[in-house]
């Protein structure tokens, strides 16, 4: 799942981060992720995985690394299944 997320985000024109060079647990905000880009990321993930993040998950922590994103996405896709 992490690789799917990495390649999705890498192709996103409004998230200018080099995801290919980032470790799974690297902090994305430290790598330059802005609040606005994190919103774009949230919307792209919802579309790709056909999920909706509940408000409790719309936090800085959820989107702080590829690993924590994958964790959140897999929780939500499991629920949907």
């Amino acid at each position: 799942m992490i690789d799917q997320i990495r390649s999705l985000l890498e192709q996103h024109p409004m998230i200018p981060l080099n995801f290919g060079a980032l470790a799974d647990d690297a902090n994305l905000y430290d790598a330059g992720l802005t609040s606005f880009a994190s919103v774009q990321m949230m919307l792209a993930l919802e579309e790709e995985f056909d999920i909706e993040f509940p408000e409790t998950m719309l936090t800085r922590r959820t989107f702080s690394s590829l690993a924590s994103i994958a964790d959140a996405v897999s929780q939500l896709t499991r629920k949907a299944a």
């Binding site: 609040s35 606005f36 408000e55 719309l58 936090t59």
Partner: protein, 307 residues
């Protein structure tokens, strides 16, 4: 202005009845009395006096700003629901006749208008950043500005403390993270002391901006998690939900990056602002001290009119 009733409608009605505000037919758009303006003028002088030791450069921008500047600032990403662009008729005689016809029929004639280069200023500091960036590198000690402008936000409401056109006075510090944070700290102290000197009840609390949509929920959570915004709240139309009359905002290097505001060594500047909602402070004063400013407590009058 009964001391026990705290609700929007009774306050608004009482402001109209006492000739302090005048109705325009549009919610959030009011005429102001001379007494109301006098309070605002005196409060602005108080703000300027408290900020005087810092030697800020004063700039007054008009209530309209460059639309291109608003677009580049990112305002439409965060607050599309609040923005207002100025539109004008740019057609010829044929279109003019069409427009009058549509108007007479009660149709939507505004579709014959086109967007101009102007947008209404949403916060006093928006026009500042590109103006300063164009002047070259920011000096090591940073820069400090004092601004005042009418601002527009599209949020029609019966709450007199939520006007669509209102004035905001601001101090803006542009500098290092440390400089702008200590600027904000100093105003958190000064702001509270100032409001207490006006004998108004207040509290300072962590806050967030009304970012648009679900993405906005996330922006708001981020803003809170990072402690970027504080507000000084005064009960005006509700005790449970007091009104934000001053706000203290740390933008990190958002505007530095957006506008290329840099020091000579190429580092991006951080910025912070403290904003004073002038109508809101005036409303709080009328709400708590009564409709007749001449009958306000002597200590309050002394702070505003004494110097």
């Amino acid at each position: 202005m009964d001391a026990k009733t705290f609700d929007s409608k009774s306050l608004l009605d009482s402001l109209f009845e006492n000739g302090i505000l005048f109705e325009s037919g549009v919610d959030g758009l009011y005429g102001r009395s001379g007494a109301f303006e006098d309070v605002i003028e005196r409060f602005e002088r108080l703000v300027t006096r408290l900020g005087a030791p810092d030697k800020a450069t004063r700039i007054h921008f008009p209530p309209g700003m460059s639309r291109a500047t608003l677009e580049k600032s990112g305002y439409m990403k965060s607050f599309p629901q609040l923005a207002g662009c100025v539109h004008s008729f740019m057609g010829g005689e044929r279109e003019h006749a069409q427009l009058l016809g549509m108007m007479a029929d009660g149709g939507d004639w505004t579709e014959l208008q086109k967007a101009t280069d102007l947008a209404l200023t949403p916060a006093a500091c928006y026009p500042l950043y590109p103006t300063i960036a164009a002047r070259g590198p920011v000096p090591a000690q940073g820069l400090l500005f004092e601004l005042s402008s009418y601002c527009f936000r599209h949020e029609p409401s019966k709450d007199p403390a939520r006007m669509q056109l209102f004035r905001m006075r601001e101090f803006v510090k542009i500098g290092t993270a440390e400089q702008v944070r200590s600027f904000r700290e100093s105003w958190l102290k000064r702001g509270r002391a100032m409001i207490e000197s006006l004998d108004l009840p207040c509290e300072v609390d962590l806050a967030n901006d009304p970012f648009f949509g679900r993405g906005g929920r996330m922006m708001a959570n981020n803003q809170r998690d990072q402690g970027l915004k504080f507000e000084l709240l005064i009960p005006v139309t509700s005790i449970e939900k007091p009104t934000a009359c001053l706000s203290f905002n740390y933008h990190q290097d958002h505007f530095g990056q957006t506008w290329g505001l840099k020091f000579a060594d190429g580092e991006f500047c951080h910025s912070a602002c403290v904003g004073f909602g002038l109508e809101r402070v005036a409303l709080a004063l009328f709400r708590h001290h009564g409709p007749d400013a001449e009958a306000w407590p002597a200590a309050v009058r002394d702070v505003l009119w004494g110097v």
